[in-house]
């Protein structure tokens, strides 16, 4: 079903909203999901548009990652989002994948993102309707990781998202949406929040604010991130550092942020980031690296700290 207005989406019963579909398609092909009622949003004009208004930069949920990555307003006012969008997947995927779809992507795990044939040899996990997490067998919940790059950047800006849920339209922090999505999405692969993501808004930067995003992946256009970081410093708000691809949702590095505001040196801030991630991250077995090696990547946060020098120039 192709919808063109929000009113049409309100009439949909138990549908799966599809932005670009690049995350959903492989899951359908692998029979990891079996969504019956696909609702295509690519004709909805209300989900499009990138514009600056009084206090915010507005980003339509239906904008493609490519458009976000090259748009002059995004590059100027929210560079970490442009960088994150431009580093996600391959050019071909970025040309289709949407901002809303990227935020609402399924969590991933090497025991789940496999063909049906491969999975047959294992007991069903939480995401496939069972009662176990193969990653951490004594875990009461799914420990699959949330790999969105753009979500990490949005959280660094304390962005908000406009959603339609239960026919009510409201703005909520992106952090809250991702948290709820992550919890629901870990219960079963066909569980998703019954809401429509309409658009995002990012507070306009105050004078002196700097922000940056970076990610590490084995093969950047094919593999999901091993880890990603976003950092916002300067301006009139407290600094904010976020790490992604390390847990079922992005991890906010509060202590690291405080040290950044205090003007601590690079070694001190990096050590604090490592300490916080050792405490808060929930690494699992991944295709490319074991958890021990992932922990060694925590210090890569150091690479982002050069952005502070721009404030002093």
């Amino acid at each position: 079903m192709v919808v063109r207005t929000i009113e049409e989406t309100l009439k949909v019963q138990a549908g799966t909203f599809v932005g670009g579909g690049t995350d959903l398609m492989p899951l359908l092909k692998n029979h990891a999901r079996n969504d019956k009622n696909l609702v295509f949003l690519n004709r909805m004009e209300e989900l499009k548009g990138i514009r600056k208004e009084t206090d915010y930069l507005y980003l339509g949920a239906g904008e493609t990652l490519y458009d976000l990555s090259v748009h002059p307003l995004v590059q100027k006012l929210a560079p970490a989002i442009a960088q994150a969008a431009g580093m996600t997947a391959s050019p071909q995927i970025r040309n289709i994948a949407t901002l809303g779809g990227n935020i609402m992507q399924d969590r991933r795990c090497i025991y789940f993102n496999q063909s049906q044939f491969w999975r047959k040899g294992l007991e069903r996990c939480f995401k496939t309707g069972g009662n176990i997490c193969h990653q951490i067998p004594n875990s009461p919940v799914c420990r699959a990781i949330y790999y969105s790059d753009v979500a990490t950047a949005l959280l660094a800006y304390e962005a908000e998202v406009e959603c339609v849920e239960n026919k009510i339209r409201s703005w909520i922090p992106v952090q809250k949406l991702v948290h709820r999505h992550s919890q629901v999405n870990g219960l079963a692969c066909d569980c998703h929040l019954p809401l429509l993501v309409v658009r995002f808004r990012v507070p306009l930067p105050a004078e002196g604010e700097q922000s940056v995003f970076n990610k590490y992946a084995m093969r950047s256009t094919i593999d999901f991130p091993l880890i990603n970081f976003a950092l916002r410093v300067g301006g009139d708000r407290p600094a904010r550092a976020v790490a992604g691809a390390v847990a079922p949702e992005p991890v906010l590095l509060e202590e690291t942020g405080k040290l950044l505001d205090a003007g601590s040196d690079t070694n001190t801030v990096t050590a604090a980031c490592e300490e916080e991630l050792n405490r808060l991250a929930l690494p699992i077995r991944e295709a490319c690296i074991p958890p021990a090696m992932k922990r060694m990547l925590y210090q890569q946060f150091r690479e982002l700290l050069d952005v502070r020098a721009k404030n002093r120039m």
Binding site: M25, Y66, Q92, I96
Partner: protein
């Protein structure tokens, strides 16, 4: 993937308007290969990773294996069949032959379409821009040096046309 619903879509396929009746969860690649008989776009990984299925959708390179056919309704689709013939190959096709950028050839249509999408919007790309544009296409036998050389050769040929 099976879906009970049928949807009529219109594609402007290599310049010609064509209608297809498709399943809701059918891919653009399936429509091209099975319904339109255009087998140039290849089914490789079928998961959006290898780029062998690359076509140009409204001017942008996409993985046709990851595009729902319904979403392509009303759009212009360019495939490798539409850009040249055996007698009059596209400069990119000729350059791939001349540079020896083809071995098994399975990735070649995807490589050429990804390169064409780049050259259509940026006729004088740098090496880095070429590498970026082809970063979603895997080749397991030729190696990327020759492929990059071929695109550079095509850039020179196309620039020559433009300067005439």
């Amino acid at each position: 993937m099976k879906n009970e619903k049928n949807n009529e879509i219109t594609l402007f396929l290599n310049g010609s308007e064509q209608r297809f009746c498709v399943e809701t969860d059918e891919t653009l690649l399936h429509v091209l290969r099975k319904r339109a008989g255009l087998t140039g776009a290849k089914k490789g990984c079928d998961l959006g990773e290898c780029g062998a299925c690359t076509v140009i959708l409204d001017g942008r390179a996409v993985n046709s294996c990851c595009v729902f056919a319904v979403q392509a309704d009303g759009k212009h689709v360019e495939t490798i069949e539409g850009i040249g013939t055996a007698e009059h190959p596209h400069p990119l096709q000729q350059a791939f032959v001349n540079a020896g950028a083809i071995q098994c050839g399975f990735c070649t249509p995807g490589m050429i379409m990804a390169a064409k999408a780049l050259l259509d919007r940026n006729p004088r790309p740098s090496r880095e821009e070429i590498r970026q544009a082809l970063s979603g296409n895997l080749c397991r036998c030729t190696g990327y040096e020759r492929i990059e050389q071929a695109v550079m050769m095509a850039v020179e040929i196309i620039s020559g046309y433009a300067e005439r």
